[in-house]
C-alpha cells in the first residue's frame, strides 16, 4: 500500500465514515480511494488555511455571479451554499451511471409516447389505467397529439443514491422541466477557479461540450426566420429563476415569460419591439399545467392562451413536451422493471428503488406487514396530504395516531400511496471548520437528447445533507450543494465554459427584444437616473446642513422644495420648513416616499430582476449592492448622510461605466440609455426651474452647478462667480456638457438609429417628431433670456419624448398581426 504523505494523513486522521454506509472518499480501511488520492494530496499540500481561503473565494464568486435560490415563502434571495469539496466519481462508476441513465431516458421516452399515443401498455394490462390518470401531469388535451420535433423528452434528469454495497440506485425521475443543470454549471465555474491545478491533474471531464450539443440540437430545429430558441420561465418569483436567466445567457437563448407570447391561429409569436416574431421552439421551465389558462389551469397567469392548441398542431416544439411530467409519478417506480422488458426488451441496467404500489391489494398487504421497515410516500405528485408535508415518511417514525390515519387511508384509497425500500445513502466529505466530515448526499445527473441520441452531462448536481442521518427520506431542503467531478480515462482538453470571443456564434440566435424586456430596460434606465438625481439633492442638502448664512439657508430651502415636489420628502404640518440635516436624513432613509433614493433603487432592482439574462453579472452585482447599501442604511445616523449619498453615487457611476463598457451595443442598451437621457433631461429642467431662473442668488446657482456636476467646467470657463445667463448656457445649450439638456437631446437623436424599425409608421413618426420638437424647444432664445416658462417648455418636450417612445415600443401593439 502506498503510504500517504504526512499532511494528507493528518487531514484524514479524524475522518470517521458513518456506520454501515459506503463512503465516497475512503475505503473500509480508512485509506483514500485511488481516484480521490490526488485531491486529498493537493488539499494537504495547500494546508488548511489556504483551503479555507479558497473555499471563501468560491462562495464569494458564486454570490457575485448571482447564484441565488429564491424560496417561495421568503421575499429575499438566498445564497446557495457550495461545498468546497466535490464528489469525485471514477471512470468505471460513471460508465455504469451513464449507460443506465441513457437506457432509462429511452425508456421514459417510449413510455410517454405510449401513454399519449397507442396506450398499449394500459390496454394490455402492463400498468393499470389509474396510475396514468392519477398523475396531475397526464394532460388529457395532449392525448393523441404528435409532438413537434418527433419526441417528448429533450432533457431528463435522475436523482441517484449509492447503497452500502456500492451500487447506484435511481431514487427519482425528473421529466417535467428538470432543474439544477445551471446550478451545476455555476458550481463548476466557481470550483474550477478554486482548485484549477487539481482539476487538471485529475483529468476532470468538462461540461461545456454537453451544453454545446444540447444547444446545437435545439438551435438547429428553430426556423431561421423565427425568434430562435426561447427559454420559457415562470418569471422572477420562481425559486429557480436565477438558473433560468443563467442558462438563457449561457446557451444564448432568449428568456421569455408567458406574457411575451401570443398565439394567432395555431402559431406562436413573440411580442418584440420590432413587432411579432414567430416562435417554434420553447425550452420549457414552466410547469405544463400553467402554460395555457384556456386549455389547462384556468388560474394560471404565467402562460398564454392557445399554447396547447399550438403544441397539438405541431406548430411549436416544447422541450420537454407538455405532459412529459407524467413519468415522475412514484407509482411508476413499481412498474419500470416490467415496462423496460416490455418496451426495450431488456432489464434495467441501473435499478430504481424497490417500490410497491398500494393500489394493488396484495402489494398493499405486503408493505403493511413490513410497516416499520417501509418508507411511505404519495404515489403521485401534487397531492396535498398533511401526513406527507415533508415528503416521504418512514413507517417506523409515525406516531400512533398518524399510523392509524395512514392505515385508514391505505384501506380506502391505497392507490394514492407507495411503499418503498428505505434507502441508505453513501457519504462524501465536506469541510466543516477546516475538518473533513462525512455527509450523506444525492447526485442529480442530466441527460440531453441530441441528433445522435442521448448524452449525459459528465458531472452533476449534488445535494449534501446538513445532518449525518443517511436515510434518503430524511434528506431535507437546505444543506449544501456540491459539484460532481467525473474522472476521464483520457487527458482532458480545454474547452471554455464561458461565452467568449472564440465562440462568436453563442448569442447569434438572439434576434429579438421582447416588449416586456424593453419596458424593464427603459424603466431601469429611468429609475437609476432618478435615483442619481435624488441622491445629488440629498448630498447637496447634507453638505449645507451646518450653514447659518442667510443665502445658503435659502438655497437649502429650495432644494428641500424640490425633494418635496418629487416625492422624496413629505410636506410637514402647517408647511413648516424642514431643517436641512433632518430633510437629507429623512429622504436618504425613507422606504415609502416614492421619490426617495431607497425606493427608487428598489424599483430599479425590480426592473433589473425581470431582465437578469440581459445584464452582465457585474451590472447586476452593482444594483444588488446599491440596494443592500440602502437597506442597511435604514437606521444610519444623520451625520452619515453625506458619506452614504456620496458612496451610492459612486456605485451608480460604476453601473454607468459597466453599462457603457460591458454591455454589447444592442437594442436593449439603446433603450436603457433612452430611459436615462429622458430622465436626466427632466431632472435638469426641474433643477434649473427651481434654482437657475427667477430670483437667483450666487448660492442657488452654485447649488445648481453642484447638482449638475458642473462647477469645475464653469470655473474653468468663466473664472468668475456664477451668473444666471452663463449657468443657463452651460446647463441648457452646451451640447458638449454631458449634464446639459442639449446634450441629452443630441444623444436621443443619435439613439434613434440604434432602434429597430417599427411597422407602425404613425407612432414611429410621432416619436421622431418628438425629438425634433425637443431640439426646437431649445432654440430661439439667448441664455440670458431663459425664464421659467422656457424651462417648462423644455421639460414638457422631454416628457413628450418619453410618451412617444412608450407608445411606439412598449404598448401592446399586436393588433392587426396575423390577419
Amino acid at each position: 500500500m502506498v503510504k500517504l504523505a504526512e499532511p494528507a494523513a493528518s487531514l484524514l486522521a479524524d475522518y470517521a465514515p458513518l456506520e454501515g454506509v459506503f463512503d465516497e472518499m475512503v475505503d473500509e480501511t480508512g485509506q483514500p480511494r485511488a481516484h480521490w488520492r490526488p485531491f486529498v494530496d493537493a488539499l494537504a499540500r495547500l494546508g488548511r488555511a489556504e483551503i479555507a481561503r479558497r473555499a471563501d473565494g468560491a462562495a464569494r464568486r458564486l454570490r457575485e455571479a448571482g447564484v441565488y435560490y429564491r424560496a417561495y415563502d421568503q421575499d429575499a434571495d438566498q445564497a446557495w451554499p457550495l461545498s468546497s469539496t466535490p464528489v469525485i466519481i471514477d471512470t468505471e462508476d460513471w460508465r455504469t451511471i451513464e449507460a443506465g441513465l441513457i437506457q432509462r431516458a429511452e425508456l421514459m421516452e417510449a413510455a410517454i409516447a405510449d401513454f399519449y399515443g397507442a396506450q398499449r401498455l394500459v390496454r394490455d394490462g402492463h400498468v393499470p389505467a389509474s396510475i396514468i390518470t392519477g398523475s396531475p401531469d397526464f394532460l388529457r388535451p395532449m392525448v393523441g397529439a404528435t409532438p413537434a420535433g418527433g419526441r417528448y423528452l429533450h432533457f431528463y434528469a435522475a436523482d441517484l443514491g449509492r447503497a452500502p454495497d456500492g451500487r447506484w440506485w435511481v431514487l427519482a425521475d425528473r421529466a417535467q422541466a428538470p432543474s439544477g443543470a445551471g446550478y451545476a454549471l455555476g458550481n463548476r465555474i466557481a470550483l474550477s477557479r478554486t482548485l484549477p491545478e487539481t482539476m487538471h491533474e485529475l483529468d476532470v471531464r468538462r461540461l461545456a461540450e454537453f451544453f454545446q450539443r444540447f444547444r446545437e440540437t435545439l438551435t438547429n430545429r428553430a426556423a431561421p426566420d423565427s425568434a430562435g430558441v426561447c427559454l420559457l420561465t415562470p418569471g422572477p418569483y420562481n425559486e429557480t429563476y436565477y438558473e433560468h436567466a443563467y442558462l438563457a445567457r449561457y446557451l444564448g437563448f432568449l428568456l421569455v415569460e408567458g406574457e411575451d407570447l401570443v398565439v394567432r391561429g395555431d402559431k406562436v409569436f413573440l411580442r418584440t419591439v420590432a413587432g411579432l416574431k414567430k416562435v417554434d421552439t420553447l425550452l420549457r421551465r414552466l410547469d405544463a399545467d400553467f402554460t395555457d389558462p384556456l386549455a389547462l389551469n384556468p388560474g394560471s397567469r404565467l402562460g398564454a392562451p392557445g399554447l396547447v392548441d399550438a403544441a397539438r398542431s405541431g406548430a411549436v416544439c416544447f422541450a420537454n413536451a407538455l405532459g412529459s411530467g407524467i413519468v415522475e409519478s412514484r407509482a411508476l417506480m413499481a412498474f419500470w422493471p416490467r415496462l423496460a422488458r416490455e418496451l426495450l426488451g431488456a432489464d434495467l441496467k441501473l435499478p430504481n428503488v424497490a417500490t410497491w404500489w398500494c393500489g394493488d391489494a396484495a402489494k398493499r398487504d405486503e408493505v403493511i406487514a413490513r410497516f416499520d421497515d417501509i418508507a411511505f410516500a404519495p404515489a403521485f405528485l401534487g397531492h396535498r396530504n398533511p401526513l406527507f408535508s415533508k415528503g416521504a415518511v418512514s413507517g417506523r417514525d409515525l406516531a400512533p395516531d398518524a399510523r392509524r390515519e395512514l392505515l385508514d387511508q391505505l384501506a380506502r384509497r391505497g392507490g394514492d400511496f407507495v411503499g418503498q425500500e428505505m434507502v441508505k445513502l453513501s457519504s462524501t466529505p465536506v469541510l466543516n471548520n477546516d475538518r473533513f466530515e462525512p455527509r450523506p448526499f444525492q447526485l442529480r445527473v442530466f441527460l440531453a437528447a441530441t441528433e445522435n441520441g442521448w448524452t449525459a452531462m459528465p458531472g452533476g448536481f449534488c445535494r449534501v445533507s446538513s445532518r449525518r442521518d443517511p436515510l434518503a427520506i430524511n434528506m431535507q431542503r437546505g444543506g449544501l450543494a456540491a459539484d460532481a467531478w467525473v474522472i476521464s480515462d483520457a487527458p482532458v482538453g480545454y474547452r471554455s465554459l464561458l461565452p467568449s470571443a472564440a465562440s462568436p456564434d453563442l448569442r447569434r440566435g438572439i434576434v429579438a427584444l421582447t416588449t416586456r424586456t424593453a419596458e424593464n430596460m427603459f424603466w431601469l434606465g429611468r429609475y437609476l437616473e432618478r435615483a442619481d438625481a435624488s441622491l445629488r439633492l440629498v448630498r447637496a442638502l447634507a453638505a449645507r446642513s451646518g450653514e447659518r448664512d442667510h443665502a445658503a439657508v435659502a438655497a437649502s430651502e429650495k432644494i428641500i422644495a424640490i425633494l418635496q415636489w418629487w416625492g422624496a420628502l413629505p410636506y410637514r404640518q402647517d408647511d413648516a420648513v424642514w431643517p436641512a440635516a433632518d430633510a437629507a436624513h429623512h429622504a436618504m432613509t425613507s422606504t415609502d416616499a416614492y421619490g426617495a433614493p431607497p425606493v427608487l433603487v428598489r424599483r430599479a432592482l425590480n426592473a433589473a430582476s425581470a431582465i437578469r439574462d440581459q445584464l452582465s453579472p457585474d451590472a447586476w452585482r452593482i444594483i444588488k449592492a446599491l440596494d443592500r447599501q440602502m437597506m442597511e442604511g435604514a437606521d444610519a445616523h444623520a451625520s452619515e448622510t453625506y458619506d452614504r449619498a456620496e458612496r451610492s453615487l459612486r456605485e451608480l457611476a460604476a453601473f454607468s461605466g459597466y453599462a457603457h463598457e460591458n454591455m454589447t451595443r444592442t437594442t436593449g442598451w439603446a433603450i436603457l440609455d433612452i430611459g436615462r437621457r429622458v430622465e436626466r433631461g427632466l431632472s435638469l429642467a426641474r433643477f434649473i426651474s427651481r434654482l437657475g431662473v427667477g430670483d437667483t442668488t450666487p448660492a442657488t446657482l452654485e447649488a445648481l452647478l453642484e447638482l449638475c456636476d458642473s462647477q469645475i467646467t464653469y470655473a474653468r470657463r468663466y473664472f468668475v462667480t456664477a451668473s444666471p445667463g452663463a449657468v443657463a448656457d452651460l446647463l441648457i445649450f452646451d451640447d458638449d456638457n454631458p449634464r446639459a439638456c442639449a446634450f441629452q437631446a443630441a444623444r436621443l437623436r443619435a439613439l434613434l438609429d440604434e432602434l429597430p424599425a417599427s411597422a407602425r409608421a404613425d407612432a414611429a413618426k410621432t416619436f421622431r417628431e418628438s425629438i425634433v420638437q425637443l431640439e426646437a424647444s431649445m432654440t430661439g432664445c439667448t441664455p440670458d433670456r431663459v425664464d421659467a416658462a422656457f424651462v417648462f417648455k423644455v421639460e414638457e418636450a422631454f416628457f413628450a419624448v418619453a410618451t412617444a417612445f412608450s407608445n411606439l415600443y412598449l404598448s401592446d401593439h399586436d393588433e392587426g398581426a396575423g390577419r
Binding site: 394490455d124 389505467a129 396514468i132 390518470t133 388529457r140 389558462p293 384556456l294 393500489g359 391505497g414 393588433e815
Partner: protein, 292 residues
C-alpha cells in the same frame, strides 16, 4: 321527450377588454340516452372564426377569439334535443362497492368514459376528510353500490339547504359542506368528493333541467341556470348511473346532458381569458321548452 333549449349568457366588464379568448361547452352531448337534432351558437361581439371541437371527455366545444375592444360579451346557444324517457337506471342489483372499487383501480380501460379518469382528485373536487367520513356512513361493508350511492344522494338532499346566495361559482366543496348550503354545483361537488374519498369513481355532469315534470310532481330546483348532477360508476355491468342530489332523484327525461367531466372546471359553459382590470358581472338565463 323533445326539448328546445336556449342559454343566454352576458358578461359585463367594468373596464373594456381589448381582446378575449374563449371556449364554450354548451352543445348537448350525443349519447345512447339523447339525440341532438339542432344546435346553433351566436356570439357578440362577433369573432372572425369559431372553431368547433370535441374535448378529451367527448364534450363539444366552440373556440374563438374576440379581437375588438368590448365592454360586454354575450353568447346565445340554442339546441333541439330528444331525450329518452325513463330514469338513468332501470333498477336491479349492482356489485358490492368494495368490489367496484377494486375493479376501478385495476381497470385497463383508459378511453374517455373509463372509471380511472374519475377516481382521482381534480381541480375542484378533491377528497376532503370530513366529506369522506360523512359519505362513509352510507357505504357500509359489502353494501350494493347503487343502494349506497342512492342513500348518500338522499342524505345530501335532506341535510343541505338550497340557497343561491350561500355560495358562488368558485366555492370549494369543503366550504359548501361545512355550511350545508349551496346550489346544484355544490351538491354535486360534495357528493363527488365523498364518493372519491372512498376510492370510487364519480363524474360531474352539467346540463339543462326541465323544471315542470309532466305528472304533477313538485317543481325541481336548478332550472333557472344550467344544472349539474353526479354520475357514479357502479361496476363493469351496471356502468355509469346518474344521481341528482339537488332533487334526490335519478336523472331522467327531465335531465338534458351538456357535458361530462371530473368537476365543474372540465365542463364550465364558458372559459375565457380576457385582459381587463375591473370587475365583471355575469348574467345567465336558461329556457327549456318541451316540443311536441
Amino acid at each position: 321527450m323533445k326539448y328546445r333549449v336556449r342559454l343566454v349568457s352576458t358578461t359585463r366588464y367594468e373596464a373594456a377588454a381589448p381582446r378575449g379568448a374563449h371556449v364554450l361547452r354548451v352543445r348537448p352531448r350525443e349519447d345512447d340516452r339523447q339525440r341532438v337534432t339542432g344546435f346553433a351558437v351566436e356570439i357578440e361581439p362577433p369573432s372572425a372564426l369559431i372553431v368547433d371541437g370535441v374535448d378529451f371527455f367527448g364534450n363539444g366545444t366552440q373556440s374563438f377569439v374576440i379581437e375588438e375592444r368590448h365592454e360586454h360579451f354575450t353568447f346565445r346557444a340554442t339546441a333541439e334535443v330528444d331525450v329518452r324517457d325513463g330514469a338513468s337506471f332501470a333498477g336491479g342489483t349492482t356489485a358490492p362497492w368494495e368490489d367496484v372499487r377494486a375493479a376501478a383501480w385495476a381497470s385497463s380501460h383508459i378511453d374517455a368514459q373509463a372509471p380511472a379518469h374519475f377516481l382521482h382528485p381534480s381541480r375542484i373536487a378533491r377528497p376532503v376528510p370530513d366529506i369522506t367520513h360523512y359519505a362513509a356512513q352510507s357505504f357500509t361493508p359489502g353494501r350494493d353500490i347503487f343502494d349506497a350511492a342512492q342513500e348518500l344522494m338522499r342524505r345530501i338532499h335532506a341535510d343541505f339547504t338550497y340557497d343561491v346566495d350561500a355560495t358562488d361559482v368558485t366555492t370549494a366543496p369543503a366550504d359548501a359542506f361545512a355550511a350545508r348550503r349551496g346550489v346544484c354545483q355544490d351538491y354535486a361537488h360534495v357528493m363527488i368528493a365523498g364518493v372519491r374519498g372512498l376510492g370510487l369513481p364519480a363524474a360531474y355532469v352539467s346540463g339543462y333541467l326541465h323544471a315542470a315534470p309532466p305528472s304533477g310532481m313538485p317543481r325541481l330546483e336548478g332550472a333557472d341556470a344550467t344544472h349539474a348532477w353526479v354520475s357514479v360508476w357502479c361496476g363493469e355491468t351496471a356502468g355509469w348511473i346518474d344521481f341528482d342530489p339537488t332533487n334526490a332523484i335519478l336523472a331522467n327525461e327531465s335531465h338534458i346532458v351538456i357535458g361530462v367531466g371530473r368537476d365543474y372546471a372540465d365542463v364550465a359553459p364558458e372559459t375565457g381569458v380576457i385582459v381587463t382590470s375591473g370587475k365583471q358581472a355575469l348574467d345567465v338565463a336558461v329556457d327549456v321548452t318541451p316540443v311536441a
